[in-house]
Amino acid sequence: MANSRVVIVRSGGLTDPGSPAEQARILKMFSRGFGLLTGEREERSAVLSVFRPEDRVGIKVNTIGGRAISTRPEISLALAGWISRNGLAEKNIIIWDRTNRELRDAGYRLAAGGGGFHVFGTDTDGAGYGSELVSHLNIGSLFSKIQADLVTASVSLAILKDHGLAGVTAGMKNYFGAIHNPNKYHDFHCNPFVPEVFDSPPVKGKHRISVLDCLVVQYHRGPSFHPQWAERYGGFIFSLDPVAADRVGWALIERFRAAKGLPSLAEEGREPAYLLTAEKMGLGRADLGGIETIEETVP
């Protein structure tokens, strides 16, 4: 398996991502992330090396944590806007999660139709879950029609968090929000369920890029928000390899934990074993030795 590339782009002192000044920096971070990842110098080329112009792109956000620790609308809307300015139609971009309630609670304003971006949950009338069970390895689930039917390409724009069961929740586990029964897949540290959901046709066939929102990283007692264990990191992790993205995210969490004198996830008996399973399934690289990590700071 060839080395995988992961790009970390940071920008110091981000406190109000919705402000015009910080929005500009965030866009620059997307630009550098996609550019360094794809090797393309032009933004448009970088975007179009990940998506086709005719793609309907689903940006799967993670809003279970409410306003405090969810993918912020300022970030997902900025990404949608940046992608649309670089070759894709606004009307073909959907920012979504499993419920409208969770989206609203995280600060999103719902929008469906009208020619702009769409923002809605699977429980929106007309969306919902497919009627046929997808039975794949140990998984038996109904998939969100957004993921299964509406979109042709998918971005996992997840929050990086510690997770009491999985160890880490990041880009791969974000797709638990695409199935109707995620509560059934938390046994055995969510392993092998995280990689198996990812490996199922509605996800694997469409996932294009992981973008981990690490502006604030919950490095202990996640996935709920605990400010005393949340680090304002001010960065994003980009990778075309979903396993490598999560692996680098895990390393980041371990770094914050060590700095605070907390035991490692392995010492707590909950290292994210799903990553090794994912690597064995051929979904990507889980060993840091096989991952080329590029770090850059945007002023």
């Binding site: 944590g65 409410g66 009491g164 029964n181 509560n183 059934k184 046994d187 709920s224």
Partner: protein, 373 residues
């Protein structure tokens, strides 16, 4: 054949006297108002630091952070307080023959007002009702049906009992418990159909307010429970043992699935355990499997396998052993353990004759255990 087709064909064949699940919405609406989720504090949990909680209802003992839900999908930690989201939120309500549960020694020939909410604390790969049990409450249509009005509805529809069934009633414990308390006040009985995954304390409380419990014993092997149920055999056996020791009427169902739990040795061992730990008077039903949900690669159970299971259990000394889901089979009938005459005759869910007087065989006067009136 999927579940809908199965119910449709079964109903067409006159096998299902109650209403099939998919057609419930209109009937549900007639009972109550359409509702969302409830916000009622759950019982049986403990608060932990940092707004975490640990559920103490079932052996999973889910430990959850703020905004997280348990494995059942119907109980949620909101800011360090644990809530049931399905209190008074019925997703299914039918008037069913009690034989459909199945209870064969509990008010035979009567109907039960049968109630469910979404959710389950296991994930059986062969679930017949997965469309309501393996979903979150937002994913089904719920109707507001508070405990205080259900017993009156039961009376109105001529049901001497309420059955908590279809999904896993343990996950809607508070709703079931309060309904059972109201029902007892009105003289309506309560019958629980459960997989038996419940902790001792809530089980003890439940036993205090209900009249009958049917436990689905899915297999007599932890390996089966791990692979196909995601549950724990030990807990289920403990539940059976506790109910058997109580005054609540107990029946056991064993769904026989070809190649997975149909070995004669396992069945013999299970029957021995039931006899020793629950007693020879406990009715044991061997039900026929139909390929549904995630186990569609196996055929329906051959009738000969069910007969083998029944013969094995009878041979081990159990006195009331039945064959289920094979309408017209003689193994559906109740036979007097003394004179061997047919004392309750059944075809499918229909009771066609009862030859009991005051709980005794009409022919020889032998007492037959059960709740008969």
């Amino acid at each position: 054949m999927n579940r809908r087709d199965f119910f449709r064909s079964a109903a067409g064949a006159g096998l299902v006297l109650g209403t099939g699940l998919p057609s419930l919405c209109s009937r549900l609406s007639a009972f109550g108002e359409k509702g969302g989720l409830s916000h009622v504090e759950a019982r049986y949990y403990r608060k932990l630091p940092d707004r975490e909680i640990e559920c103490e209802l079932c052996p999973r003992a889910c430990r959850l952070g703020d905004k997280e839900r348990g494995y059942c999908g119907v109980r949620e930690n909101q800011g360090g307080t644990y809530y049931t989201l399905v209190y008074g939120k019925a997703c299914s309500l039918n008037v069913d023959p009690i034989e459909k549960k199945p209870f064969f020694h509990f008010l035979p020939g009567t109907n039960a007002l049968s109630l469910a909410t979404a959710g389950c604390n296991v994930n059986c790969k062969f679930c017949q009702n997965w469309e309501i049990s393996q979903v979150r409450p937002e994913q089904v249509e719920n109707v507001d049906l508070p405990p205080r009005i259900i017993p009156a509805q039961a009376e109105k529809y001529g049901c001497p009992s309420i059955a908590y069934t279809y999904t896993e009633p343990v996950v809607f414990f508070e709703y079931m418990y309060d309904t059972a308390v109201e029902a007892r006040r009105l003289g309506v009985r309560s019958a629980v159909v459960t997989g038996g995954h419940i902790k001792p304390e809530p089980l003890k409380d439940l036993i205090g307010v209900v009249d009958a419990i049917k436990v689905d014993l899915k297999a007599y092997s932890q390996d089966f429970y791990t692979k196909y149920v995601r549950g724990e055999l030990k807990t289920v056996l403990e539940t059976i043992r506790s109910v058997a020791k109580s005054k609540v009427w107990l029946e056991i169902v064993y769904l026989v699935i070809p190649t997975l739990n149909d070995s004669a040795a396992d069945i013999r061992e299970m029957a021995r355990w039931v006899k020793n730990e629950a007693g020879d008077r406990v009715p044991l039903h061997f039900s026929r499997f139909q390929p549904l949900y995630l186990v569609k690669n196996l055929p329906p159970t051959p009738v000969s396998t069910l007969e083998m299971a029944r013969d094995t259990a009878l041979g081990e000394g159990l006195r009331f052993v039945y064959v289920g889901n094979v309408p017209g089979h003689p193994g559906e009938n109740t036979y007097c353990p003394n004179c061997k005459k047919t004392i309750i005759q059944r075809t499918g869910f229909t009771v066609t004759g009862i030859r009991l007087k005051g709980g005794k065989c009409e022919f020889c006067g032998t007492p037959v255990p059960g709740i008969w009136a």
